[in-house]
């Protein structure tokens, strides 16, 4: 058990920067998820923590010790790979005990640990099988078992669920969370799947272009994204973005103008925050699809009507996704399945301005 610290960590491949100065503090027992699009540097960061990639600049500390020049085997970490990386010629038991056997643990201790891990992962019946006799989900469990038996300071997961089918992925996700609740080992988990990130993490680290965009608890990232990138990356369907202008309205209020015809009144409590941006160009209005709903009955506070013509509707069962365009920008809303949404039909929607975001395009930051 240990905390992990990254100070100004940089990785460059032949003058191409992959990670451009990452600062991160991971607490003991914490489950941290690094998430971001391909090539954002999340896997490289993980591999640097593992010691599989050398660090170009900066410092990595595990349990208070600088490990920049410590080989992977002496960092007391365990890693689960995307493609499992099980030793094909060994049985499940041998796979799981390989690390312990190398460290010359007593046989009884090895057996105790493997049995314990197998019990946690429910793979006791598979111990004598070879990896090729296992299904994808079982292989992934074995790979996790191999990590657990080592009782390391830190678990590292490199997109461990990407090779599984959708159903199994959901199941294994829960499984990983349960395992973490049982063993409470500091965990760094890399994924490109924001749902995995949101569901698993104590804190999510969103990376883009080799830099950390934002670190925070899943709900904070979702409701208070710091940048446009985070706002757009977290959440599915993604947040709606429309270029806008901020104007003074009567009574000291502000209104956000999307088109010549469409303008919303900014909620009163945000007026002060948004005031400096009045009249400035390059602003973007952001609103999540679940904050664009069907207008049923009287509108609540900070809700405003929006009459649109739907282009496409996608019934999801519990809700229907509706798509429409404002001045050529396609937007998405979530309405009740009984709201009568149909392709090409008109609809009156309610925009929940209390949940709006205003983005300054010059900095990419959410105001």
């Amino acid at each position: 058990m240990a905390n992990v610290e990254l100070h100004k960590v940089v990785k460059t491949y032949d003058n191409t920067p992959a990670v451009r100065g990452v600062d991160l503090h991971i607490d003991d027992k914490e489950f941290i998820v690094l998430v971001g699009p391909s090539g954002c540097g999340k896997s490289t960061t993980l591999r640097m923590i593992a010691g599989l990639e050398e660090i170009t600049d900066g410092e990595i500390m595990i349990g208070g010790d600088v490990v920049n020049d410590v080989p992977p085997k002496d960092r007391d970490i365990a890693m689960v790979f995307q493609n499992y990386a099980l030793y094909p010629h060994m049985t499940v038991f041998e796979n799981m005990s390989f690390g312990l056997r190398l460290k010359r643990f007593p046989k009884a201790e090895i057996k105790r640990r493997v049995d314990e891990a197998a019990r946690i992962l429910d793979i006791t019946d598979l111990l004598e099988r070879k990896p090729k006799q296992l299904s994808g989900g079982q292989r992934q469990r074995v790979a996790m078992g191999r990590a657990i038996v080592r009782d390391p300071k830190v678990f590292l997961f490199d997109e461990p669920l990407s090779n599984l089918d959708a159903k199994l992925r959901v199941q294994m996700r829960t499984e990983i969370k349960k395992v973490h609740q049982k063993v409470r080992t500091t965990t760094v988990y890399v994924t490109h799947d924001q749902v995995e990130a949101m569901t698993l993490a104590d804190r999510v680290v969103v990376m883009n272009n080799g830099l950390i965009e934002q670190v925070g608890e899943p709900n904070d990232l979702y409701h208070a994204p710091a940048t446009k990138f985070v706002a757009g990356f977290i959440g599915s369907p993604a947040m709606n973005f429309v270029p806008c202008r901020l104007e003074k309205a009567g009574g000291g209020g502000l209104s956000v103008r999307l088109t010549d015809k469409i303008a919303f009144t900014v909620p009163a409590e945000r007026t002060r925050r948004y005031e400096p941006f009045v009249g400035r160009g390059r602003l973007t209005f952001g609103l999540r699809p679940e904050h664009v709903t069907d207008a049923r009955g009287a509108l609540e506070k900070d809700q405003q009507k929006l009459d649109v013509t739907l282009t496409v509707t996608e019934p999801m069962g519990m809700e229907t996704l509706v798509y429409f365009a404002i001045d050529g920008t396609e937007l998405c809303g979530r309405v009740s399945p009984n709201a009568g949404a149909r392709d090409g039909g008109p609809m009156t929607l309610a925009a929940h301005l209390g949940d709006m975001h205003l983005i300054d395009e010059d900095t990419g930051k959410v105001v």
Binding site: A85, Y87, H89, G99, L102
Partner: protein
């Protein structure tokens, strides 16, 4: 064949010209045709050797049908296996081949591991270089090699030429480059994550090689072993040039020098000797084929 054609013709409508099943049928016919041609081509010499080995010298020189044995006899076998000389050739060949195979593996497996996994300055060039040395024909090499052995004797006083063990130094020049090349290919096909997992599990390079790479690349190792053994067993030019005394000869050269006296060819025994000499590689091949389990890497990673 006729029944197959009828059965195929009886199912469903007549296949259209150029259909996949029709193409496949023709591909199969052509494959079998060439398979038979090659089988005849390659099996004729050993069959002829077997027929001749069962004949007496008199029958061989008689103007009868060469493809038939009228008075089969095991006389050639008894005589050859009873002769100390043939047993010596056989022993020399076995010793040389087994030791050369061992030496080759000891050199090429770690070399291939280093070249395929440890990226160091010039490793790619070195890997190509290893293969290029294999392309230099032995007919070009044996003269400088002979000179080297002579110089070695002059400097150290250790006599290598005309001893069977000189071949232990010579054969690896043929086997090591090719085996290294084969093993580089096999090692390169092992997913990178496997050695990373071993590295994190606490294995050093040597442990990774011995406990992960060699077992996983066993089919490749066996292919390389078979190659090295066959090359050593069948090598003719080097032993002909470097060994002369009857007790130092290996089988291919021994048969020729001891069974051809002047212009008298003892065909019956030559054929018997060659046939018996061909047996060990065949046996080894058959034995190792059982262990040549393709797809050993299945299950290592996704899939």
């Amino acid at each position: 064949m006729a029944s197959v054609a009828t059965a195929a013709g009886g199912i469903g409508p007549k296949p259209k010209v150029g259909s996949i099943s029709r193409d496949r049928k023709w591909a199969l016919r052509w494959s079998y045709f060439f398979l038979v041609v090659f089988a005849i081509f390659f099996l004729t010499p050993p069959v002829y050797m077997l027929i001749t080995s069962l004949k007496t010298s008199a029958e061989i020189s008689a103007a009868t049908n060469p493809w038939w044995v009228f008075n089969p006899t095991l006389e050639n076998y008894a005589e050859l296996l009873g002769s100390n000389q043939y047993i010596t050739f056989f022993r020399n060949s076995a010793l040389v081949s087994v030791i050369v195979v061992a030496l080759t593996m000891l050199i090429s497996v770690p070399a291939a591991f280093a070249l395929s996994r440890m990226k160091f300055w010039g490793s790619a060039t070195l890997a190509s270089g290893v293969f290029l040395t294999y392309l230099v024909p032995e007919t070009l090499l044996f003269l400088p090699l002979f000179k080297m052995m002579v110089t070695f004797t002059e400097w150290t006083g250790i006599e290598l030429i005309n001893h069977w063990y000189v071949l232990l130094l010579l054969y690896p020049t043929l086997t090591v480059p090719f085996c290294t090349w084969i093993m580089i290919g096999y090692f390169a096909s092992i997913p990178k994550e496997l050695d990373e997992a071993a590295l994190i599990d606490g294995a050093g390079w040597l442990q990774t090689l011995l406990k992960i790479f060699i077992p996983v690349a066993l089919p490749g190792l066996i292919a390389a072993t078979i190659f090295a053994f066959t090359v050593s067993w069948a090598q003719f030019l080097y032993p002909l040039a470097f060994t002369t005394s009857a007790d130092q000869l290996v089988l291919p050269v021994g048969i020729i020098t001891s069974l051809i006296k002047g212009d008298v060819f003892n065909w019956g025994q030559i054929m018997t000797g060659a046939l018996l000499g061909a047996a060990p590689p065949l046996i080894i091949y058959a034995f190792l084929m059982d262990y040549y389990i393709a797809g050993l890497t299945a299950g290592a990673t996704k899939g």
